[in-house]
Amino acid sequence: MKIIIVGGGKVGYTLAQQLSTEDHDITLVDNDANVLTHADETLDIMCIKGNGASAEILRSAGVGETDIILAVTDSDELNMICCVIGKKLGAKHTVARVRNTDYSDEFKMLREELELDMVINPEMEAAAEIAQMVQFPSAADVETFANNQIELVEFRVLGTDPIINQKLMDLNRHLPSRVLFCTVMRDEEVFIPNGSFSFLPNDIIQVIGERISISRFFKYLGRSSHKAKNVTIIGGSRTAIYLTWILEEMGLNVKIIELNKDRCLVLNDILTDALIIHGDGTDQEVLDNENIEAADVIVALTDRDEENLISSLYAHQCGVPKVILKINRQNYFPIVKKLGLDSIISPKFITATNILRYIRALNNTKGTAVEKLYRVLDNKAEVAEFTVKNSSDLTDVKLQDLNLKNDVLIAAILRNKKIIIPNGNDVIKEHDKVIVVTKTGFIADLKEILA
């Protein structure tokens, strides 16, 4: 597809990087020559300097034949204008990043009146993602597939878990419900486990299954499945506001610790039910005063990665069962994970991922193309959802007879709203949804899993 990306910041660059490796033709428009030079030198894309909302610049970027315009500059208004003009000039789809809370209730109107195909708000997406983590305190990360019927849950193995030190084939007999172990990360290396694999403490495991099976599995592990009640948010950012809205709707108690007095007053205006504390979230005195041990969840959402890390580490030390922190710089991820903090949120990364998901769905017009795709375990493995649109070599053959590539796992099949966690005797049929786990890199088509 031909794609124009307006704005070469972190989101724009990540999108350009990802999409250009997926064989799309990318044109990046930005006003900043340095940004463009960097992109031009590191990516196989076309760069155009100029204002992305100007018709002339968009024309020179070939807007007439463009499939998608992604407007992801810092300015909401510029993004909107850019999409409107782009659409008038012939772009088929438009996606705008709009992050100002003032517009957050007007997304539907923006979509209709400005003919935007997708409006994405990074902070809101991040808040939604955090809320999902809060709901599932024993997991580090949760992704859902097949209209939320299937869950893919990431968690860290503890020394007390009953699943350690036994072979997977034996373990499967003891499990209370049918779940499938997809990937294991041990010391930076990712495995797709087979029957003779056995888990060790500190492995990061991803397990897939029906929602109910997953919660039974966690009960078996003896992890507290009791719902979180008290959430403390450090840093009153925009994400914090969205998160508070969602959490309060779920009936949770929210406390926000914010350093800036004026900001506290603003928060108090917007969030009437939440308790706003004026104080430094990295100060242990403040945290102790607020009785941090009693919190079920701590979410560190200040604008500085380092402060989030300090607050989170302290909370982790105090034994808070669930610590979630925002990290903007992706290169911090492995360091933070090494410290035992598994629940990391990066709004920009989430934005990029969600836009990518949208584009992949658009691209999915023929055959068995990928419908949803998640990068997991530091991008070392992928989980992709496909719909089988027509019969092929893959269909109606027992899985054990399929000649699959190494490191490919068929994790789940969804047929007529029924979920099958497959074994060797199951088959893939036409119209099934299939969830595949790979560590071989991007697969664009289900047929690519065959060796």
């Binding site: 250009s20 033709d25 990318i26 044109t27 030198e41 590191t42 196989d44 894309i45 076309m46």
Partner: protein, 481 residues
């Protein structure tokens, strides 16, 4: 410097060079000529070396600017070293330095020759000699990228280093796709020239040879009198117009395909190129016509050919312009220096740089008169950023400096000034013939080994536009950190 990435690129280039030598081998086999063995040995050696080097596993992010530039310069050097082997091993050119000179002259589309009698060279070698023009014209790495877009993580530096002009751009977002489009345009235009030449009455094999020289703006011929040997106005005009068109920025042909005619005529570089070519032809016609008793059409034919051949840095000849009056020769010398458009197969300083330099000069005068005025230099309506302007000025300085240094070295051979000077211009601008001893009917055979090495260096420096070569030979970048 990541030596492995550089060597890997080199390996891929050598592998393709071996493949590209096969047609010449086939011609030798058809003719059952003595150079078959030389070709077989060279192809085997090149392919094996290329294959081994291309086995290196590299991390794609390792290909940074300096690796890209060094890889291109090294590829051109090593490619010429291997490409010279058929001439040397077959004994057609007994001295290896001479063979290397001939090959470098081929790849860089210079067309300067050390062969005294080209008509005794077998056809297989002639074909290889001219085919190097065609390969070198658009660039070997551009060719490899058209076939293997994944040559490294950041092929953009390879393209920049190899494509002529101050800021080579892509036609479409994907670099592999861009290279493919360029090569398709190039190949189609070449085929058209071949067909026209055959239609005008040139033998088929000769048409290939002259079309390669025209397309690459090289200038190797197979007749002692060059194009003049045919004395056919049709052939003269086909090659004149052909050379001119291959000197146009290929981006314009892409715009032509996309039917954006307005942009083509608005292109200032193209307009300047047309202007000084036209002016050159007019001045030479006026100067030459009365002296040689040509009628107007004859004068136009000869001057248009000579102007076109020198401005596009091709170097064919229909007449010995060495015998023309000094004024005409001076006009031709100036055009040799200017060269054709960036992004074409031609050499020289390039029209766009001349354009920018003139504009910079004009703005400087204006700025002296109105010291507080704020203005930027614009090309095609877009302001030029300072970095590009700086790089053009530095390029120009380096170009002149290298010419002066080379003239001093070459003057050790004690030829007359016009010979030494024009020989250096002819090699660094990738033209071929100059004036005096190296005129269109002369050759470079009489120079000493030292001068020949200087010319070899000048040709590669001119083709790759200085920087890559200098980077390759900077000791700093070969250090580990």
């Amino acid at each position: 410097m990541k030596v492995k990435s550089v060597l890997k690129v080199l390996g891929i280039v050598l592998f393709w060079e071996a493949v590209l030598m096969v047609p010449s081998l086939l011609i030798s086999i058809i003719d059952n000529s003595y150079e078959i063995k030389a070709f077989v040995i060279t192809i085997a050696a090149t392919a094996v070396t290329g294959f081994i080097l291309s086995r290196f596993e590299i991390d794609s992010a390792e290909m940074r600017k300096r690796e890209g530039y060094a890889a291109v310069a090294l590829s051109w050097l090593v490619m010429s070293i291997f490409g010279a082997l058929p001439f040397y091993l077959s004994g057609s050119i007994p001295s290896y330095i001479d063979a290397l000179f001939e090959t470098v002259s081929g790849f860089t589309t210079t067309g300067s020759s050390i062969i005294r009698d080209v008509e005794i060279i077998p056809r297989g070698l002639l074909f290889w000699r001219s085919f190097t023009h065609w390969i070198g014209g658009m660039g070997v790495l551009v060719f490899t990228m058209a076939l293997f877009p994944s040559i490294g993580g950041r092929p953009v530096f390879l393209m920049r280093a190899e494509s002529p002009g101050p800021s080579p751009g892509k036609l479409v977002p994907k670099i592999g796709e861009s290279s493919k489009i360029l090569y398709i345009i190039y190949a189609v235009m070449t085929v058209i020239v071949i067909i026209l030449l055959i239609a005008a009455g040139m033998p088929v094999f000769n048409s290939f040879i002259y079309a390669f020289g025209t397309a690459g703006t090289g200038g190797f011929s197979m007749d002692a009198l060059s194009v003049g040997a045919y004395n056919n106005p049709w052939i003269d005009w086909i090659i004149t117009i052909g050379m001119f068109l291959f000197g146009v920025n290929f981006t314009l042909y892409y715009l032509l395909i996309k039917k954006e005619f307005k942009q083509i005529f608005k292109n200032e570089e193209f307009r300047l190129y047309c202007f000084y070519t036209g002016l050159g032809i007019a001045l030479v016609v006026i100067n030459v016509m009365p002296r040689f008793n040509y009628d107007f059409f004859e004068a136009l034919r000869y001057s248009a050919f000579s102007v076109s051949t020198l401005v596009t840095t091709t170097g064919y000849a229909t007449t010995d312009f060495n015998l023309w009056p000094m004024f005409s020769k001076s006009v031709l010398l100036a055009l040799m220096f200017f060269g054709a458009c960036a992004g074409s197969t031609a050499g020289g300083v390039k029209s766009v740089r001349i354009l920018v330099l003139f504009k910079a000069f004009y703005y400087e005068i204006k700025h002296t008169i109105h010291p507080k005025s704020v203005q930027t230099i614009k090309v095609d309506g877009k302001s030029l950023d300072d970095d590009t302007l700086k790089s053009i000025m530095i390029f120009f300085f380096a170009y002149v400096a290298i010419i002066i240094l080379s003239v001093i070295i070459v003057s050790l051979d004690n030829f007359d000034f016009i010979t030494s000077f024009s020989a250096v211009i002819a090699t660094i601008s990738n033209i071929g013939p100059g004036f005096g001893i190296v005129g269109p009917m002369g050759n470079f055979a009489d120079f000493s080994v030292l001068s020949k090495i200087t010319f070899i260096a000048d040709m590669i420096i001119g083709r790759l536009e200085i920087l890559p070569v200098i980077i390759l030979f900077s000791p700093v970048i070969w250090k580990r950190n």
